[in-house]
């Protein structure tokens, strides 16, 4: 595009009518600082309402666009506005600004530089920098989305390759460890596990890296720690084997394996799925610090009559993460309920979910949820474990009374049996004080260590533990 395009040609580049209209507004020289152009590129800084101006560069050869604004449209109104000003001869030739120089150099070095950039990014990122390989007048959405698709596929292939390498290495490490024995002193060294976790992070298997760190924490925890560690290693082995042959697995299971090994699913893709519209109650919330991030789990449930006349509880888990300086906030408060669309992430056990459209305002729940028996809760957890054995926790809602086991551990027991409370549960005395030795309704997370109580209902009151 060595010939300067006309304003009409520029407007044809707009992804939609709204962008074209907005571009005309953005083509106001007063809103731009340091706008300049040369033979190959045009650039400028758009002074927006945000604190930082947006850095905008357009490669006239592609044309290709880069703008630091958060818009997902390509080209965005700022790029179009800049091109319009350029077309109207309002941009004077100048020396390239550093950001424009940098970006253009990168494009010169690799003709497909934009692809290389985006491939390294996690899914969804890198949308700000997309080239359009079509002539100014001939740009159509189809051509652009084609390029988009190709990049996305390439990115996914690339990542799959890295993950495969990471999984192969993990499995080899597991076999080597079993060969030399769990009693080997290297296993007691945290560095051994950290190195493995770091390599898994490099291979973009973040989910597995976190698991490995949790296994490391079990080493030497009690006299029979070898059993715990072998159990986790066996699960990791199953996951690694599964992840290397997902194409042969049933679709749901393959999705579950992907999620457990760290392949993220785009939120938009989840929200595009068929929702479950129901009255959802927020029953519990847990926050755990993992490494440097806080993981918040919010448990939603909806209850309805089951085929056998009992109450069936359907669960959904909302996951949120917070880091230092960006703490996680509670979006759905415990003891509220609302009518909403809930979309589950793909997987063999529908658990992790997103809340889509809310059909009414969250309000205080009028009644306590209907609890089940201990046997039902353990049975439901077993059902989930059978489908995804690597599940680390499953929600339970039981009516039971705390009972001591005699060895310093406590259980929640009813007539059908007992579940032990996780060792070191620091609100145990509160739980016992609330119960007064009588059955109470408890919502908690059931894991291999036992139940971690989160919410208690007693005397018509709700208490967060």
């Amino acid at each position: 595009m060595s010939v300067r395009p006309t304003p009409e040609q520029v407007l044809l580049l707009a992804p939609d009518r709204a962008a074209a209209a907005a571009a005309t507004g953005a083509a106001d020289p007063g809103a731009w600082s340091a706008a300049g152009c040369d033979e190959q590129a045009v650039w400028g800084q758009y002074i927006a309402t945000s604190a930082e101006p947006y850095d905008v560069v357009v490669d006239l050869g592609g044309p290709a666009f880069r703008c630091s604004c958060p818009s997902r449209k390509v080209p965005c109104k700022h790029c179009l506005g800049l091109l319009l000003m350029h077309a109207q001869q309002h941009v004077a030739p100048a020396k390239r600004l550093p950001f424009a120089q940098q970006w253009m150099q990168r494009r010169d070095r690799h003709p497909t530089a934009h692809q290389a950039d985006t491939m390294l990014d996690v899914q969804g990122a890198g949308d700000d920098e997309v080239a359009v390989d079509a002539d100014a007048a001939g740009v159509r959405t189809g051509a652009r989305s084609g390029a988009h698709e190709r990049q996305r596929e390439q990115r996914q292939l690339d990542r799959a390759e890295r993950m495969r390498a990471g999984l192969t290495e993990l499995d080899r490490w597991l076999a080597d460890t079993v060969r030399t024995g769990l009693a080997a002193p290297a296993l007691a060294d945290a560095d051994t596990w950290d190195r493995l976790a770091a390599r898994l992070v490099d291979a973009q298997c973040g989910g597995l890296a976190n698991r490995v760190k949790r296994v490391a924490a079990r080493v030497g925890q009690h006299a029979r720690w070898h059993e715990d560690v072998l159990e986790e290693m066996a699960v990791l082995h199953a996951l690694a084997q599964g992840a290397m042959r997902t194409s042969t697995l049933p679709l749901d299971l393959a999705d579950g394996v992907h999620a457990a090994s760290g392949l993220t699913v785009n939120k938009d893709d989840v929200l595009a799925g068929v929702p479950s519209t129901a009255k959802w109650s927020v029953l519990g919330e847990s926050r755990v610090r993992e490494d440097k991030i806080t993981v918040q789990r919010t448990w939603l449930a909806t209850q309805g009559p089951a085929a056998d006349g009992t109450t069936a509880t359907t669960w959904a888990m909302l996951l949120a993460f917070g880091a230092f300086g960006n703490e996680v906030t509670t979006e759905h408060h415990v003891a509220t309920e609302f009518e909403a669309d809930v979309h589950w992430y793909p997987g063999a056990v529908p658990l992790r979910a997103l809340v889509g459209r809310l059909h009414d305002e969250p309000r205080r729940a009028a009644t306590a949820p209907m609890p089940g028996s201990v046997a039902d809760a353990v049975g439901a957890a077993g059902w989930a474990m059978a489908r995804e054995p690597w599940l680390e926790r499953y929600p339970v809602l039981v009516q039971a009374a705390p009972l001591p086991m005699g060895n310093g551990r406590w259980t929640l027991a009813d007539t059908t049996g007992a579940i032990s409370i996780v060792p070191g549960f620091w609100r145990l005395a509160e739980l016992v004080a609330i119960s007064g030795g009588r059955p109470i309704v408890v919502m908690g997370e059931l894991s291999a260590d036992g139940i971690l109580p989160l919410t208690v209902w007693a005397d018509g009151r709700l208490v967060l533990l």
Partner: protein
């Protein structure tokens, strides 16, 4: 998994290999075989398959022992047992102990707002007001929020007067809890206050609360309310007749920003607001339960006069 044990194996993840047991096999046998298989695998894994190869699989578990590499085969077999045990987990047997139930408490349950207020007091926020919370709770005739009982008992270990107050209000549940949860480390019998132990009482109410409010405000208007005066003013705000709290809150909120007194102002305002809210929450109980008001406390809204007085007290201090 150590706490969940198997006594049945069902569903698609059970051992259904070519030589797997049929569904007619007793569940107990399956559980026992899973445990034996697991024990054999753990033994080999601890020493390492190089030194101690895993024994041959038990009947029903050989479908997963096909890998040629002994280490990989061990992991395969371990994974199969883990899946079977996790999926087939059953509740533990109920512990053979019986826990005595706590004495029945017929008093109304503590309202959520008051319980939250107590939790905030116990977390150290304006803990000066803790005796007053107890006083109001006792007058209202409601239960202690049981979730706060352990914290109160622990706090009372070094404060016999508080211990007496907590155990009186807990009506038997304190001793019960100390008995059934020995790991809490609280004595079952209550401790007797000694002459040297700190008292657990509300600060003495001044004879003329209006005058105290006036003097607090004057200290601010004279810009003498430095940080050093804050503790005394906090105590004063905790001691005055609660009917004067609204006027204190209103007047303190009206004082314009002054860097010398701002920190103190916020501090005194915070405790006045906190105490005012606390009283409103307890007043609401009387309304709900329609219990005749027995104490001398009157509702702040009935004190229009005090607002008028307080306006007079602030010459030129507000627009």
């Amino acid at each position: 998994m150590s706490d969940l044990f198997v006594d049945h194996l069902t569903g698609p993840t059970g051992p259904t290999g070519p030589t797997g047991p049929t569904s007619a096999a007793p569940a107990v046998l399956l559980a026992a075989s899973a445990n034996d298989e697991w024990a054999a695998l753990v033994g080999a894994a601890v020493l390492g398959t190089d030194r101690r190869p895993a024994p041959d699989p038990l009947p029903g578990w050989d479908a997963w022992a096909r890998a040629t590499d002994p280490a990989a085969a061990l992991l395969d077999r371990a994974a199969a047992v883990v899946v079977a045990r996790r999926a087939g987990a059953c509740p533990q047997p109920r512990p053979p102990v019986t826990l005595p139930a706590a004495p029945v408490d017929t008093r109304p349950v503590c309202p959520a707002a008051c319980a939250v207020r107590l939790a905030r007091l116990l977390s150290g926020e304006h803990d000066l007001l803790l005796p007053e919370w107890f006083e109001r709770c006792e007058t209202a005739g409601i239960q202690l929020p049981w979730a706060s009982l352990p914290t109160l008992l622990l706090k009372a270990r070094r404060n016999p007067a508080l211990d007496v107050a907590v155990r009186r209000l807990a009506a038997g549940r304190a001793s019960w809890l100390a008995d059934v949860v020995p790991e809490l480390g609280v004595k079952v019998a209550r401790s007797a206050p000694t002459a040297s132990s700190p008292p657990f009482t509300t600060p003495p109410r001044p004879p003329d609360s209006g005058a105290v409010v006036t003097s607090i405000l004057n200290v601010f208007y004279d810009r003498l309310a430095t940080w050093a005066t804050a503790p005394e003013m906090r105590v004063a705000a905790a001691a005055i007749d609660p009917a004067w709290l609204p006027s204190l809150v209103v007047e303190l909120s009206r004082i314009g920003f002054d860097p010398t007194v701002e920190r103190t102002r916020r501090d005194v305002l915070a405790i006045a607001e906190f105490r005012h809210e606390m009283h409103r929450e307890f007043d609401a109980i009387h309304v709900i339960q329609a219990i005749p008001v027995t104490d001398t406390y009157e509702h702040p809204e009935s004190h229009d006069l005090c607002l008028d007085i307080s306006v007079d007290l602030s010459p030129g201090g507000h627009p």
